[in-house]
């Protein structure tokens, strides 16, 4: 209890920049996720139209994915240096695969009859995509978003190791200052764990809600 009290005091002391690091953590994650979505989703839609090419790309992405996120973060360090920007780039690279793979799978899973019906109604390719394919692919795409988001908020904890800031900074500080200051570890670890859990539960709920609505429609 004493440790938790000390951690709380530390977090509430404005000179320790708790809010600033929390905001860095969240913006790091949000920017990477947005960039990942801007790249991964259109790419996923595009490759879903080409059978063989899609297989090749999805398999290649799968192989790259075996590389752990910590290795991706450090791989960019010599060329990109340390700081916020290289951390965003690395996290974006992590966000792309789940979004790409699930968009491809979702688009591929759309009932051919629904597409035929849309065409029969004289829908344009864009109209078909917007009103038929994307809504039907949405549950699978949202599953990809959940996976990407959980990976990104978790990996953002490691940004501190390449000078990217975020809540992981408190874990680094706690480790550097040693045993008498171990309570600082909790200042990073507790909010990081909560953010990851809320991301998982929140997006999981969204995913299930959308899927359920589709089944009842």
């Amino acid at each position: 209890m004493d440790t938790i009290q000390k951690a709380l005091d530390y977090a509430l002391n404005p000179s320790n920049d708790f809010l600033k690091q929390a905001l860095t953590h969240l913006s790091l994650s949000a920017i990477a996720l947005l960039l990942g979505a801007f790249i991964g989703i259109p790419l996923g839609i595009w490759i879903s139209r080409y059978g063989a090419l899609a297989r090749v790309i999805v398999n290649a992405v799968g192989i790259v994915r075996v590389l752990p996120s910590i290795a991706v973060l450090f791989l960019l360090l010599p060329s990109q240096g340390i700081g916020f920007r290289p951390a965003v780039i690395a996290l974006t690279l992590l966000a792309i695969p789940p979004l790409l793979i699930n968009t491809d799978a979702g688009m591929r899973g759309v009932d051919k009859a629904a597409i035929e019906a849309g065409r029969g109604l004289g829908m344009s390719a864009w109209g078909l995509l917007r009103t038929v394919q994307l809504p039907l692919a949405m549950p699978v795409m949202l599953a990809g978003l959940r996976i990407a988001a959980v990976e990104v908020v978790a990996s953002a904890t490691l940004a501190t190791l390449i000078g990217g800031g975020g809540l992981g900074d408190f874990i680094s500080t706690g480790l550097a200052l040693g045993q008498s200051r171990y309570y600082i570890l909790l200042v990073g670890a507790i909010p990081v764990a909560l953010i990851a859990l809320f991301t998982e539960l929140g997006l999981g709920y969204l995913q299930r809600t959308v899927a359920a609505r589709q089944h009842s429609a």
Partner: protein, 226 residues
């Protein structure tokens, strides 16, 4: 930075890289061995007691969601730094995957097959080892692949809590690109090697004439990233 420099480092500094490889393999090996020893009986037990399975998997799922650097940070005040907190956290993460897959593996065995085995006069023990285990094995091995890949990656992060291993090369390599690349390559090779090994093993234990079940599709098929 020429491409040759870092591979050169790997060879020139074999005596620096190799002990880190061994440290890494030791942490990964110990963690997986403990997790396997616990998860096999627990998974089998849960497959027969569905009422307990849901809460147990719920608790494990919550632990699994916690980022590893945070879980390490929770453990360090209790255990101190070193390999111990790393192994505890890595065992916990592997347990989630292995218990779930073991349970699903045993659940997926067709009851009529067990019925037939009983009809042939097999004892409970024979049914387990000759029928249920071989039929559940593909799902269990698939879980072992995910657990191993996760553990190799997450063990790298454990260097920052004093566990050593390949992460130490990354940690020391912040201002030394060749050392950093050596670490990244070693981790990548280890992960890809393990991936290949377990994919071959999956093929070896596959039950002929059956497809990967729908149940299996619901399981996490990707390693924990961070």
């Amino acid at each position: 930075m020429s491409d040759l420099v870092f591979t050169q480092y790997l060879f020139d500094n074999f005596d620096i890289v190799w002990p880190r490889v061994l440290e890494h393999l030791t942490i990964v090996g110990i963690s997986l061995a403990i997790a396997l020893l616990i998860s096999m009986p627990v998974g089998l037990f849960l497959s027969r007691k569905q009422s307990i399975a849901t809460p147990v998997l719920g608790v494990l799922g919550v632990i699994y969601t916690i980022p590893s650097f945070a879980l390490f940070a929770f453990l360090v005040p209790i255990t101190g730094i070193g390999p111990q907190p790393a192994i505890i956290a890595l065992v916990a993460y592997s347990l989630v995957v292995l218990v779930r897959n073991t349970m699903v593996g045993f659940n997926g065995v067709d009851p009529s097959v067990i019925e037939a085995a009983r009809g042939m006069g097999m004892s409970g023990r024979q049914q387990l080892w000759r029928i249920e285990v071989p039929l559940a094995l593909p799902v269990i091995v698939a879980g072992m692949r995910i657990a191993t890949l996760s553990t190799i990656g997450l063990a790298t992060i454990a260097a920052w809590i004093g566990a050593g291993g390949l992460g130490q090369l990354l940690k020391d390599g912040i201002n030394n690109p060749s050392k950093l690349y050596a670490g990244v390559i070693a981790v990548g090779v280890m992960a890809m090697g393990a991936d290949l090994l377990f994919r071959l093993l999956e093929r070896g234990v596959a039950v002929k004439g059956t497809k990967r079940s729908a149940r299996m599709a619901a399981l996490p098929a990707i390693p924990k990233e961070a």
